[in-house]
Symmetry: C2
Subunit: 247 residues, 2 copies
DNA sequence: CGTTGTTTTGACTTTATTCAAGCATGGTGG
DNA sequence: CCACCATGCTTGAATAAAGTCAAAACAACG
């Protein structure tokens, strides 16, 4: 489902008028159900860049939807290894992984000044009991998260550095389209180090690959914005940089 | 929670007498609730080695619990890339990832002759409505699946070949303990190629690492069974073979 | 036994990492 | 306003790690 258009000033305090409603929790709900949902939602204080929205281990009290800005989620394991699990943009939901045991499994950090909608899980849970359509959308979004993770697994496991970068650029571009934006200037609000961590590369390698893509005329890098000049070349490199296990 | 003991001949047709009940769906349910659950469960025909239990894209009609044997799950993406998502042993549940959109997201293949319990999702769904404890256990198992995937992400992303193999051996050993078995002779019922695919390595590298671990007196490989001779050395190598992203 | 499938080993090549240095950019304070 | 430093990014040369190709050893099974 593609949002017809997105204007930041169209974001209202109510779900029913929000331009992100086709991506977010309200999708698939009737007008009446959306009205019930939006009574739960509050727009919290803005989050400053590099500030944390919630921390791994926290009790789950709210889930969040991004209104404006961007965030990343990070897990840390017993050995202190860090892995970025994903980058999040307007319309994306955060905190779903804590649903099962009422605890956040990752830490969410803002990449730039960010506004979120806050939805208390207790009240959401009760509403889910009442509205089957809401339960379905919630489960759809959870399964989305799961298959996103599987996709990342495939990218990390089966692609070389060029394939990984190209896949990421294509994904970010496609997600812009989903939000009703032009596909082309992808804004890398995260640092090179974040990209490197997410893709399990070193930041030097990230830099080299981006330079090479620019030299080959596939993209144009200007600080944090990347113009996609040749999307077909990007697609080709994304699947060329992959190996298939032989029988 | 650790099962007190496991004898294959103790597996009965009923959940309430099954020696795997502490690992499986019945965990946390009252005696009465288990009786309700076991009315849904049927033990299907045995599955031959390398036979498929369900296929990616199939409509979700049942979920399965392994009684005896072992299986793997595989996803294939648009480009034809394959990734093994996990290996499954007695007490493990299969098919949970299809819950959200009623479609299997992966293919399940038997690694050796395997017996499963079959649970129809339609009837399970109705029972879940009735029994909150069952819903909780189901969600616990789903979140388990999600965090297993995150763990795999960390292993693939942040560990070298030695660290990956050692992590896997430790995990398999710990899961044997969970089932009430001795930790030591881990049986690798999967082929080297499966190990390689799961860990995103080439099978030659898997072989070299196993040889080196054996030469160093950490393990003893005899065809498909691996004795763990020095579990501390294994743990050390598991975390040594990891790199931490610098600030 | 011979055939087939699987695993191990070896020599060589490719790829990405490491370490180190050099550029930008953007703010701060003299 | 400009020197200065901090931060983040790029580039280069040397090194280490894992991948490739090819062959040999091993096991399983009729």
């Amino acid at each position: 489902m593609v949002a017809p258009s997105l204007q930041l000033d169209q974001l209202s305090e109510t779900c029913s008028h929000c331009s992100l409603r086709y991506l977010c929790l309200p999708y698939g709900l009737s007008q009446d159900d959306i009205l019930e949902l939006e009574r739960l939602v509050s727009t919290g204080v803005p989050i400053r860049a590099s500030e944390e929205l919630f921390v791994q281990g926290d009790t789950l009290e709210d889930i969040y939807a991004i209104r404006d800005g961007s965030m990343k989620t990070v897990v840390v394991d017993e050995d202190g290894l860090e892995q970025i699990l994903g980058f999040y943009y307007p319309g994306d939901l955060l905190g779903l992984d804590g649903f099962a045991d009422q605890t956040h499994h990752c830490t969410a950090v803002a990449l730039k000044p960010t506004h979120v909608c806050r939805i208390p899980v207790g009240r959401l849970d009760r509403l889910v009991d009442k509205l089957p359509s809401l339960r379905h959308q919630l489960m759809r979004l959870m399964s989305q998260a799961l298959s996103d993770e599987e996709k990342l697994l495939l990218t990390l496991g089966r692609k070389n550095s060029m394939g990984r970068i190209c896949s990421l650029l294509l994904t970010l571009s496609r997600r812009r389209e989903m939000r009703g934006l032009a596909s082309s200037p992808v804004s890398l609000s995260m640092k090179r180090l974040d990209l490197a961590n997410f893709l399990s590369m070193r930041l030097e390698t990230v830099s080299r690959v981006l330079t090479r893509l620019q030299r080959d005329g596939v993209i144009c890098v200007r600080q944090n914005d990347v113009d996609i000049l040749d999307i077909e070349a990007l697609r080709a490199r994304s699947s060329q940089g992959a190996w298939v296990a032989d029988q």
